[in-house]
């Protein structure tokens, strides 16, 4: 469940990053239409929200929320590194 939550966080952030021009270009080699990017943004936020319940399921409400924040930090840091290193590998997980 911890892993699930972490993966959802990463995936959510990846989608959000793909909604930003700069990163979209890095990942897909094209900026993409505004509509698609808005969709990615929305999907990203949904994924981040979905990462919360598993964390709460494992750790209980209060600690679960704290853990979720921790996962958000770790996932976004990892994503920033991936975006700098091989942004293309994010392609398969996004649309």
């Amino acid at each position: 469940m911890n892993i699930l939550s972490l993966v959802l966080c990463f995936w959510g952030f990846a989608a959000i990053s793909a909604s930003m021009e700069r990163h979209a270009k890095d990942i897909f080699a094209a900026v993409g239409s505004l509509r698609v990017r808005r969709l990615r943004l929305l999907a990203g936020y949904v994924l981040l929200a979905l990462a919360l319940p598993p964390a709460i399921a494992v750790h209980g409400l209060s600690i679960g929320i704290a853990v979720w924040f921790g996962f958000l930090a770790m996932a976004s840091t990892a994503l920033a590194l991936v975006l700098n290193w091989r942004p293309v590998i994010l392609r398969w997980a996004l649309f």
Binding site: I63, A73, A80
Partner: protein
């Protein structure tokens, strides 16, 4: 650079504020962050530092040698009012025994002793010296010692005395009772958080009411109360005896400063009055908070650059790294800094104590440490054999709780009396919002019949908020996941500070390189950066080495572990001042890297359980320590290599790194990867 008092736009003035609030105490903040981050694993560190205990194996309750343990307690502390058994758990596989003496006539005599010992001396250098003799005088009456002891201080003193090292003693709680100890010591820790003198006063405070009471059962109740609240509930105060849980054999761990030195250093420094130390750390925390808030204001494109990290672009990359490590863990940074301030709140802003308690600190601490409302049993005076089937009770309690809740400690009140009560306390906090209540179940010590659960203590909103912040700051969490997250976030925070410090020099590199000679201020910052970042890492490594190289029997050896740390740090400072900055970076990083990377070997060679053995036996905390040491060592060596290979493109900062980013895996010791002014990929 402009002067500070000229008018300018908000962002610019914030930028000025950010730069200088960050720089001035940045070196100290880095040390606070690193040692504080390591403190999340202080139990593990202390355990690693006592190789004599490494071979204990955590076992489920039914395999624990309770009969032997109880027999030992009966022998060592026959008249005790309370015995505490801290069960093996993932953070410490040994079985810890502690006790609180019965009340006796000596009570009156002890307060004085208790009072002079307290926190104060403990935080200082002479503790080592003073502890032993007080031990001598106390030993004969283990009882009065614990009775008089109000807060942890006394307890620590005693333990310390026994081992000739207060640090060790104070580590006890942590060392012996991992989670449960921390938790248990929580109330007492509140006391600890208070400025130095407080500890002493706390002592007076706790014992005072007692002395005025008749010594009958009323006093007993008082003592009991005190034991739980003030004394940190017995378990936390620290076992005086450590057993192998399976065989019931006594284990004698060496005296060590343990992870506790790092822990205490991070909020009260060392070698000065602890009240001064806390004020300095408190002020640094304020600076940190100012730097965080102003940093957010300064950051022009906080959302646009959210995921941005570009390596190989010199100054740009350093800025990216600084931004990323700050922004991505911003919730952590804000919480940890703010809660740190709250922990110091009553010291730095004593208004509340003055108005609500008329300046009576004792009353305030008393209220903060109010014990859990748990029924107090009184001794009947009639002897009755204590049941020994603790495992069955534990199984019953764990069944009652369900949900994988485990018993962390067993507290037996009035052992040997007809009214003996066995209280089983949970190993972990159920959540952040329950305050200081640890669920527990009580059983008759003679018949084993259940007496119900402990009543949760009411807490006000203020207390609740305070305790949530406190719990978050200290990470009193059940499972490893949150602890690791806090640890990694702490690493991120250290990277943030380190990158900020390095940026200061990089941003000004051009100006100075144009000048024929480096400006002395620039050089000063450079030297301090090297010593505070790379030098600190090396000093921490030396601290661990000293733990194994100083003979186990040497008196005051725990103090020497600490001295080794500071001597090493001072040497690093001198070295940084004497060498060119690049050479100093390389040499110190390499030195720290080698020392860390060799720690697992040192561990194996000096009596510890070696890595293959700890993996085979599933002693996770040792595996974790050794692996972290390896990862940290590798990271530091890599950083050293990159600095070494780096050839500045221009005269100023050129290519930056990618290894410097807050990499989620590396131990906290990796941060020095950051500080390399220029590095990595391109340059290499």
């Amino acid at each position: 650079m402009t002067t500070f008092d000229q008018p300018r736009p908000l962002r610019q003035s914030m930028s000025w504020l950010h730069t200088w609030s960050g720089l001035l105490l940045g070196w100290l903040l880095f040390a606070i962050f690193v040692t504080g981050t390591l403190s999340y694993f202080r139990n593990e560190i202390t355990f690693w530092m006592q190789p004599e205990l490494h071979r204990a194996q955590a076992v489920p309750p039914e395999q624990i040698a309770f009969v032997r343990a109880l027999a030992l307690l009966e022998r060592e502390a026959p008249g005790a009012q309370q015995w505490t058994l801290t069960l093996p758990n993932p953070r410490n596989p040994t079985l810890g025994l502690g006790w609180q003496a019965a009340m006796g006539g000596e009570r009156q005599a002890a307060p004085g002793a208790a009072r002079e010992r307290p926190g104060r001396s403990e935080a200082r250098g002479e503790r080592g010296a003073s502890a032993p003799d007080s031990a001598a005088e106390r030993r004969p009456f283990p009882a009065d010692a614990s009775r008089e002891r109000p807060g942890r201080g006394e307890a620590r003193g005693e333990d310390g005395a026994r081992r000739e090292s207060p640090w060790r003693g104070s580590g006890e709680g942590g060392a012996f009772a991992p989670d449960s100890a921390e938790r248990r010591s929580f109330p007492a820790d509140a006391a600890r958080e208070r400025p130095g003198r407080g500890e002493a006063r706390g002592a007076g405070n706790a014992s005072a009411p007692q002395e005025t009471r008749p010594q009958g059962s009323g006093a007993g109740a008082q003592a009991q109360r005190q034991g739980r609240g003030g004394g940190g509930g017995g378990g936390g105060r620290g076992a005086r005896i450590v057993l192998d849980p399976v065989s019931g054999d006594r284990l004698e761990g060496r005296a060590t400063a343990g992870g506790n030195f790092l822990y205490r250093f991070h909020f009260e420094l060392y070698g000065m009055d602890r009240i001064w130390g806390r004020w300095i750390v408190g002020i640094a925390t304020v600076f940190m908070f100012v730097a965080l808030v102003s940093g957010v204001i300064v950051h022009r494109r906080i959302f646009k650059d959210f995921f941005t990290f570009r390596s190989g672009k010199g100054k740009r990359s350093w800025l990216d790294a600084h931004n990323a490590s700050s922004v991505l863990s911003l919730p952590f940074h804000l919480i940890i800094t703010f809660s740190g301030l709250v922990l110091f709140g009553h010291m730095m802003i004593p208004t509340a104590v003055q108005s609500a308690y008329q300046g009576d600190n004792e009353a305030y601490y008393g209220a903060m440490r109010a014990p859990m409302a748990s029924a107090v049993s009184q001794a009947s005076g009639e002897r009755a054999p204590l049941i020994t089937g603790l495992a069955a009770l534990i199984a019953e309690a764990e069944n009652t709780w369900g949900d994988g809740k485990r018993v962390g400690s067993v507290v037996i009140t009035h052992p040997g009396d007809r009214n003996a009560v066995i209280e089983l306390r949970q190993m972990n906090f159920p959540g952040l919002t329950g305050g200081r209540n640890i669920p527990s179940l009580r059983f008759s010590g003679v018949t084993g019949e259940p007496l119900g659960a402990s009543a949760p203590r009411e807490q006000s909103i203020v207390q609740a908020v305070g305790s949530v912040l406190n719990l978050l700051h200290r990470g009193f969490f059940a499972t490893p996941a949150p602890r690791w997250l806090l640890f990694l976030s702490g690493v991120g925070g250290a990277l943030m500070i380190a990158s900020g410090l390095v940026m200061w020099t990089i941003a000004r590199a051009r100006k100075t390189s144009e000048a024929a000679r480096t400006h002395w201020g620039h050089r000063l910052v450079e030297v301090l950066n090297i010593a505070a970042i790379a030098g600190l890492m090396a000093a921490i490594a030396i601290h661990f080495w000293a733990n194994r190289l100083i003979p186990a029997g040497l008196s005051a050896r725990a103090d020497w572990e600490i001295h080794a740390f500071f001597i090493a740090w001072a040497v690093m400072l001198v070295h940084a001042a004497l060498r060119r900055s690049k050479a100093a970076w390389v040499e110190q990083l390499a030195c720290a890297g080698v020392l860390f990377a060799l720690l697992p070997l040192l561990n194996a060679a000096s009596g510890g359980l070696a890595l293959p053995g700890s993996i085979a036996r599933g002693t996770g905390l040792l595996v974790g320590f050794d692996l972290c040491a390896l990862v940290s060592g590798a990271g530091l060596l890599f950083a050293a290599y990159k600095v070494h290979r780096h050839v500045p493109r221009v005269r100023l900062a050129s290519s930056p790194s990618r290894g410097e980013e807050p990499d989620p895996d590396p131990g906290p010791e990796t941060e020095p990867g950051m500080p390399l002014p220029e590095t990595m990929e391109k340059a290499a």
